[in-house]
């Protein structure tokens, strides 16, 4: 127990930033462990019939197991008396009991297996459902791998315990109690002596639990870190390779792996010390009996038969004692994992609608920001400050501004991906916090500045928001996004599987699929966040033409840095450091906003170019 591995969380980031860190490795909370325990057991409730059955089956199997030596004894008696036919009868009985026992064991194993898998299934669905209910802000601050680890590795140990450990635990505890009772009836004095080590066992087991649970929790935590590390290195492999950092990343991974190793060895050390100790103490009881009982037999206060019977019981109880130790170990691990799972399940969603919130009323898509400010969790500065902005239904607004001025943030308030820290966002006159989230989000479609595609077919990606869309609708959307031609050229057209995140497509192709995906949703409000930044001018020109038609009757937000895209807008809003600094038409802003003037100026040489080549433009245009 010399050096404890360091407890510094080098890159443990789950719920670690700021006040979110909930895990304490305090050693005082045995009650907490018990609470986790009972909560885990609570997941058995839907399976209580099965649980009872598996106890019944297990107990009957024990009866069968015990009766076999008894029958064997009877058989030996028959042999002694030379009765061949009775011997055969008893032998047949033994065979029969064995078959019954087989049935019982098979039954118990199947029932227990079903229960444990059922609980795993339930818990994992619960966990995933809970994750899907958490707000986007939660994920900004998590590592995917950390969450994955909880839904896989941690669940596994809970399953082992609930499926097998718990039954063993109760079974051996029961056997021990029954055995102890029998011993007391047989010989109270010897029984009392043999049970002397019990308080010591309880104390040691308790101490072990107090030490082991946090240690195991830390093992699970480090495995999660390892998962996160592996996950990031796999998804960032292009960057790792591009910078020839394989060696260093491998070095870091080895470090992470070593941390898991160290902590595992620490908990192995605990196990190596305490488990045999728990096994050792009861054998002191055996010794005491041997010593005291032996003397009693010698001085005649106990018969040899009585002594042997007593002894046999005690020996019989050694097995359950050992099982108890193993099951307790499983329980420790399950409690450690359970704590981590519950930590996630107990993280309340922070973006909720009141129960029974009405659907978004029909409307044309008027959007209003009333004195909206937003500060991201963990940030010190406002991302948005006192935004007052009204966007009339059906208009197209361009959000312009320097990098990090808050354009994306502002637009993500409309589908309520985040809640404003103060102020209100209204869509068609209703506060977005007071309508049901699905109805709101179904009315808003967003093309993000980092187009994420799923590793499904092209068609499945386009119909993401409306899986029931017809083939014609898919094609129309794809054509509008100028994606149809390249899709047709793919090996299997619309049924081509695209790689993770769409990385088997070019940047512009990804963006166009993302646009098609937004268009097919037929939203009331369309948000294009830098949606054509990777598309060439000719293609963008065509997309723009198509968009003009699509934007008819919708409210559209365009976030762009290029004049070419901005030119679609009726109104231009200039943001700076989270504030609206200018607002108006193209001509107003060219005068009023320095940034906008610069954007326009950047386009000027090209005006010169155009005026220089007016004829050709027309010729080619024909």
């Amino acid at each position: 127990m010399d050096k404890r591995p360091e407890r510094i969380h080098l890159h443990a980031r789950f719920l670690t930033q700021g006040p979110e860190r909930l895990l304490h490795h305090d050693n005082t909370t045995l009650c907490k462990a018990l609470a986790i325990f009972f909560r885990l057991i609570g997941f058995l409730r839907p399976y209580r019939v099965g649980v009872i059955w598996s106890f019944v089956l297990a107990s009957l199997a024990i009866v069968a197991t015990v009766s076999i030596p008894w029958l064997t004894g009877a058989a030996v008696n028959q042999i002694d008396s030379g009765d061949k036919s009775s011997l055969v009868k008893i032998a047949i009985a033994i065979g029969g009991v064995s078959i019954v026992r087989l049935g019982l064991t098979v039954g118990r194993r199947i029932v227990a297996g079903r229960i444990s898998l059922g609980v795993e299934f339930d818990l994992r669905n619960r966990l995933y459902g809970h994750l899907q209910g958490l707000e986007l802000g939660f994920f900004d601050r998590q590592q995917t791998g950390q969450l994955m680890s909880r839904a896989t590795v941690d669940l596994q140990s809970v399953r082992f315990f609930l499926g097998y450990g718990l039954i063993f635990l109760i079974q051996s505890a029961l056997t021990l109690v029954i055995g102890a009772t029998a011993m007391f009836i047989l010989n109270p004095k010897l029984a009392a002596i043999s049970l002397l080590p019990v308080p010591a066992v309880v104390l040691v087991a308790r101490r072990y639990g107090i030490k082991a649970r946090p240690a195991l929790q830390e093992v699970q935590q480090r495995i999660a870190e390892l998962t996160a590390d592996a996950q990031e290195n796999v998804s960032g492999v292009r960057v790792v390779k591009a910078f020839a950092r394989e060696e260093r990343q491998a070095e870091r991974f080895r470090h992470t792996v070593t941390r898991v190793f160290d902590q595992s060895m620490y908990s192995t050390k605990l196990r190596a010390f305490y488990n045999p100790l728990i096994g050792f103490l009861p054998s002191l009881g055996l010794v005491a009996i041997l010593y005291v009982g032996g003397r009693d037999v010698v001085n005649g206060s106990l018969t040899l038969g009585g002594f042997t019977a007593f002894y046999a019981y005690l020996l019989m109880m050694l097995g359950p004692m050992r099982t108890l130790g193993v099951a307790l170990g499983m329980a420790q691990r399950a409690a450690a994992s359970g704590a981590r799972i519950f930590e996630l399940l107990d993280r309340e969603p922070r973006l909720v609608t009141p129960a029974g919130a009405p659907d978004l009323v029909a409307g044309a898509g008027r959007v209003e920001f009333r004195d909206v400010s937003l500060i991201y969790e963990g940030a010190t500065e406002n991302a948005l400050t006192n935004i007052d902005l009204t966007v009339q239904a059906g208009t197209t607004v361009a959000l312009v501004g320097t990098t990090a001025s808050g354009k994306t943030t502002l637009s993500s308030l409309i589908p309520r991906l985040y809640d404003a820290t103060s102020g209100t966002v209204l869509v068609d006159g209703v506060d977005v916090r007071e309508v049901s989230i699905p109805s709101l989000r179904n009315s808003v479609a967003l093309v993000t500045d980092d187009p994420f595609l799923f590793s499904e077919t092209v068609a499945e990606n386009i119909t993401y928001a409306r899986p029931d869309a017809s083939v014609e609708e898919i094609e129309i959307a794809a054509r509008r996004a100028q994606a149809h031609d390249f899709i047709e050229a793919l090996p299997e057209g619309y049924n081509t599987l695209i790689g993770e995140r769409g990385l088997t497509l070019s940047g512009g192709q990804r963006q166009r699929l993302a646009i098609a995906r937004a268009l097919i949703a037929d939203p009331r409000i369309l948000i294009l966040d830098d949606a054509t930044s990777s598309v060439d001018a000719s293609t963008e020109h065509e997309i723009k033409e198509a968009l003009r038609a699509v934007m008819e009757g919708r409210t559209t937000f365009i976030i762009a840095h290029r004049l070419s895209t901005i030119s679609l807008a009726d109104v231009i809003v200039v943001l700076e450091r989270g504030r609206v600094v200018a607002h108006g038409s193209h001509d107003d802003l060219a005068r009023e906003s320095e940034l906008y003037a610069a954007i326009v100026e950047k386009g000027l040489p090209d005006q010169v170019f155009l005026t220089r080549k007016p004829v050709e433009t027309e010729v080619v245009g024909l």
Binding site: I94, R238, A272, D536
Partner: protein
Amino acid sequence: MFIALIAATAATLAPAPLIKMAIDKGIVPGDLTQLNIAVAAFIGFALLLWATSAVQTYLVGWVGQRALQDLRVRIFEHLQTLSIGFYSRKQSGVLVSRMTNDVQALDQLVSDGIVTLFQATLTLVGTVVILLWLDVGLALISFIIFPLMVGASLAFRIASADAYRITREKIGAITSYLQETISGVRVVRSFGQEPRHVAAFSELNDQNRVANLKTVYLNAAYFPAIELMSAALTVAVLVYGGFQVIDGSITVGVLVAFIAALNTFFDPIGQLSQLYTTYQSGMAALDKIFELLDEEPDLVDDHRAPALPRINGAIDFEGVSFRYGEDDAGAWALRDISLKVPAGQTVALVGSTGAGKSTLAKLVARFYDPTVGSVLVDGHDLTKVRASSLRSQLGIVPQEGFLFSGSIRENIAFGRPDATDAQIADAAEAVGADVFIQEMSAGYDTEVGERGAQLSAGQRQLIAFARALIADPRILVLDEATSNVDIHTETKIEEGLRRLLAGRTAIVIAHRLSTIRSAGSIVVLEHGRIVESGTHDELIAAEGAYWRLYRDWATQAVA
């Protein structure tokens, strides 16, 4: 370790004979000294058991954990040798599952397995000797269990191999689905598709349950079957032995002793068969791991390949054609590219989307090898030099910026971990990122979140840009490096770049044509072919593809 194992096994077996000794020699004849000796020996063995089990648990744990962690590192290192093409085909969640779930599945096998295997085998061998010594005929009957057990185990293996393999695949699928829907959570939320994912996940989860249930059924059939065989043989020994006793060919004492010993005989057999199921499930995981380890790296460096010396940066494409995908079915992404970029020059690649610009850039970094032709740097064929020596002299800003979770500082210094604070600040300043970084709550120590989730798109791009510059690369590849930043910042970057690019070769890909007007030469790609090249003025004068692109761009700029 083996000493500990043997000692522990001996100590486990010791109590029974000691008690017998205590009864026979001490209690029955009333010899208290003998009893005391037995008691003392008993305590001694119990202490020995404690000590040896402690040592054994520790050592076995050490060996097992070492093996697991080594396996993890091996998978990781092997994955690093695989090409980008491999990663485009595989789901990252599945790869992660190999390093986590599958290795974890071996945990039980290595931690309990070794001890069980050793102790059970030792006990088994010991009892075999005792049985033979007691009665050869009866022993031979008992040994029928061996062929039966082998048969049952074979049948079990055949029946279960598939089932276990499928469980590995299912947990891989779950991991991968989790991974994908968590990383795409922004899209999931903004389209409000949570219920659909919850349903799909539940379906996968259910498949996992069904697959595992199948192994439960198989285990439930196998292990008790072995128990049944044991019972049947006990009965056979009892009847056959009993008849012999009655016929007087053996004594009752021998039969009773034999039956008692049979229990110690079948016990380890039960344990071994139990272990065999653990082994099967561990093997399924290990198979999956080996499948991955057997994946041949398709872009291997010849181990004799020399490192590239410090390069000047002349790039030469000689008749390069390239297609993604191994089969001939894939369309050509690049056709007959012949292009010379003199050292120190800036070349701009333009062309419509999907024309092959990024692909060309990827070939320079040797993410892929050309299907036909070769890419040369300073006259060195890239397939004949060590990839790392090339890449360490390259600075790439990929189209899809990827940041690691960690601080801004760590991300900028990614390509050069020993960079000083001043160098990091310089790189940030060159791309105009210093201002916003200094304004952040923790400056350069601000966490960016996974993939830079806590930054704006432009901020991510700027950091990726700074990351490419800091390593002082000889060749810079900028794939739309400023597509998401505003005009002010872009202008600043352009100024910074002019200074930075002096003496370096650069390949610049951009759709905003204003950014590339000043490039030394402009190459226009259409459908994977070079259709034009020259300076801005030459190409405008030629009124070809570039001119058309430029016109479209300019028209829009003022529309």
